[in-house]
Amino acid sequence: MAKAYTPGLKVTASTHHEAHRVLPIPGEVKVAEGDTVEADTVVAETFMDGDITPLNVANLLSAQPGDVPELMLKKEGDAVEKDEPIARSKGVFGMFKAECRAPASGTLETVSSTTGQIMIRGASIPVQVKAYLPGRVLEVLPAEGVIIENEVALIQGIFGIGGETSGTIMMACSAHDEELDAPAITPEMSGAVVIGGARMTAAAIEKAREVGVAAVVSGGIDDSDLREILGYDLGVAITGTEKLGITVVVTEGFGEIGMAKRTFELLQARSGRMASVNGATQIRAGVMRPEILIPLEAGKTADSEETNHTESGVLELGTPIRVIRDPYFGLIGTVAALPESPQVLGSGSKSRVLDVALESGDTVTVPRANVELIET
């Protein structure tokens, strides 16, 4: 019964990762099984139905909707050009004919005799899916996409903004608890994945954006800074579609909080390597966390020592954990005691608690709901 209900985020030096790269609608897969792909290789492509432009021909021609089909100059399925006449009224004794021109180019999809409305479908919109993760095509899902596999170092962040990108890892901070501010960002970092330490400032992100940095990863961010970058107060944690030109990943949380030492060291050790970063976060049903994938050097396989996945969420004495709620927010320690019976908290409510031996040597008591496992 000693379970922590929040399994922490994955931070592994080496793991086998499979990326599902799937089109939203059926299309054509561009690569074959066994191919080696780079991050920006297009693996699948399709054409999405074009935009629809409705037009009420009956009103335009002052005709009855029922007469519209016979007034049409184009049939369903015909291609139409913008401003091309597509329907003409009969007029009075063959004179004073009114004409109706196409408002957009495309294909005449439907003509309704009930409403007098026609639909013109615009040209198809190409949709491409890139490989994102460099690696080998494990499986081709016909007409849908591919599964790409590789051995990677995987770091999940807690929160991010911006979509998929990739670049070379460059360190901007030398310690895991060093604040990332604007001076740390240099022009050489263009196109790179920049790793900071603790809180990153809005100025730093703004500078990174100017320089052309692909992604910034750091421990924490202030809400006011986030608001400044986004231009609005983020209400719901569903992100990934922002058009900021930069991807931002927060590994620990909001406020002045340093990146977990282990995460920092893991990234530091891989400085100069290529990484794929996705800031998309969805904290809702179907939880999605931002991720940083660093493919291992060719020929290296996943170390078996790291794959000892303990049953997720089990709290035992000595388990490394992090407190995830004030007043001890962000502190790291190990489980020192697991009292069975619930205790009364400062807030007055009763809850099951545990004692945490902090790195500083102090021991504090916190509700079990307020800790998360540091997964290894």
């Binding site: 009420n56 009103n59 335009l60 002052s62």
Partner: protein, 462 residues
């Protein structure tokens, strides 16, 4: 108000003339008894400055004869030939207007018919009055007073004045010197109207101030007008039921304010109809209204970004005939069963016919008119009714433009001011009449009466 005022002025003038001639006769009769006193000298007449015209101030040096009763002031109006005819016409006009109003209020007859009738009757009623170009006594002042203010004069004709001394035995002296000709013209500002000017200033200032405030983003709250709020509902009903909307803009022409207000509301209704893509039909009883309605509706369809849905054939002219129009509209209602009917404008006897027909076909009906006699019918038979002022405020309400909202708010200040004046006046007058017969409160009565007088004569003007 102004009509009543004019009439009372005329009556007063007539009375004054009659009294004055009586006094002259009396004075002449008692003249032969003793030696007449000396007349006053140095008579000077000055047109009163800062007045509305028609007032002359006279001053003279006292008569050398001691112990006199007083001085009698005489005036002579120089001839102005057209005066008689003009006055008759004015009187007839006023009479005719009064009667038109009576006919309109009493019977459900269209205004121009009523006008015609009234005019004929009025001309028969009014009789001619003429002025005698002789010395006319204006009144007698006491012997110790050496000045007189002549009022009630015509501001366009020249006058001369003369004063006689009235001796202790009521004998009149010879004429004093006659003043030079003087026209008691109106100054560009009448000092007596200063309180009125202040009130006007407050009202205009309020309008101006509120317009400015509104432009600067001060929120202006207008009470919700249920009838206008319900426009969406009525149009929605028509859309859901797949039926049309009927809009009647009254049966008057564009020169009637109510028709103009109706066209404003039509713009709003048509815009809503365009948004819902509902059919709106506007039969009119005046050709000019049809044109105005077409332009308004077209503009609304453009605003709603649906110019393709605008069909001018649905806005058409039927007939000028009051009941011909009503017959057509009622017939159409029973045949096509519109889901929403709007009656916005000037209506007469047809109001109830239209509203009842609309009710019987199950339409949501919204009416708006400033005809007091038709309001009860609309209220009873329609779902919502815009009453008088609400109807005129509709354009400000609907547009939400700061200028219009501000002026509406400013006018409210004026109304509040009027309300306050009425309450004060009524209270003062009540106290004055209540204390009239109370023995110990004579002083209070006096001051109250003078306060009422001040209010009526000075602040409100004549």
């Amino acid at each position: 108000m102004s009509r009543v005022g004019l009439r009372s002025v005329l009556i007063l003038t007539t009375l004054c003339t009659l009294c004055a001639s009586g006094v002259v006769v009396a004075a002449m009769a008692s003249n032969s008894a003793a030696a007449p006193p000396e007349p006053p000298t140095n008579l000077i007449a000055v047109d009163k400055p800062w007045d509305g015209g028609g007032v002359v101030e006279l001053e003279w040096t006292a008569s050398v004869t001691p112990d006199i009763k007083g001085y009698e002031v005489f005036v002579h109006q120089m001839v102005s030939p057209l005066v008689g005819e003009l006055e008759t016409n004015m009187q007839a006009d006023a009479e005719a207007e009064d009667q038109t109003q009576e006919i309109l209020e009493g019977e459900g007859v269209a205004p121009e018919d009523a006008d015609q009738q009234a005019r004929v009757e009025a001309e028969n009623d009014v009789t001619l009055t003429t002025n005698e170009p002789e010395w006319t006594s204006m009144g007698i002042v006491l012997g110790n007073e050496l000045a007189y203010t002549a009022t009630g004069l015509d501001k366009a004709t020249p006058y001369v004045f003369m004063v006689r001394t009235i001796g202790a035995d009521s004998t009149a002296s010879a004429n004093s010197n006659i003043t030079t000709q003087l026209i008691p013209v109106a100054a560009w500002f009448d000092g007596e109207k200063l309180p009125l000017f202040c009130i006007l200033g407050v009202i205009c200032g309020a309008v101006f101030l509120f317009v400015l405030l509104a432009r600067n983003g001060m929120p202006m709250k207008i009470r919700t007008i249920a009838g206008l709020k319900a426009v969406d509902e009525a149009v929605g009903r028509a859309t859901e039921m797949g039926r049309s909307i009927l809009y009647i803009n009254g049966i008057q022409d564009m020169d009637d304010l109510q028709t103009v207000a109706g066209v404003t509301v039509l713009g709003h209704v048509a815009k809503t109809a365009a948004e819902y893509d509902a059919k709106i039909e506007v039969p009119t009883s005046r050709s000019l209204v049809m044109t105005a309605a077409r332009e308004t509706v077209q503009a609304s369809y453009f605003t709603a970004a649906r110019p393709d849905a605008y069909n001018p054939d649905l806005i058409y002219y039927v007939t000028d005939e009051q009941f011909g129009f009503v017959a057509y509209v009622s017939g159409m209602m029973t045949r096509e069963k519109p889901a929403a009917c709007f009656y916005m404008g000037a209506f007469f006897a047809e109001s109830l016919i239209l509203a009842e027909t609309g009710n019987s076909v199950g339409a949501i009906q919204i009416a708006g008119t400033a005809q007091p006699s038709q309001l009860p019918f609309f209220v009873a038979a329609c779902d919502y009714t815009l009453i008088g002022e609400e109807f005129f405020a509709a354009s400000a309400y609907l547009s939400g433009q700061p200028d219009q909202l501000g002026s509406l708010k400013g006018q409210d200040v004026g109304k509040i001011l009027v309300g306050i004046l009425i309450i004060i006046g009524v209270t003062l007058a009540t106290i004055a009449s209540a204390t009239a017969s109370a023995p110990g409160l004579a002083g209070l009565h006096e001051s109250m009466t003078s306060a009422v007088d001040f209010l009526v004569n000075t602040i409100l003007g004549s």
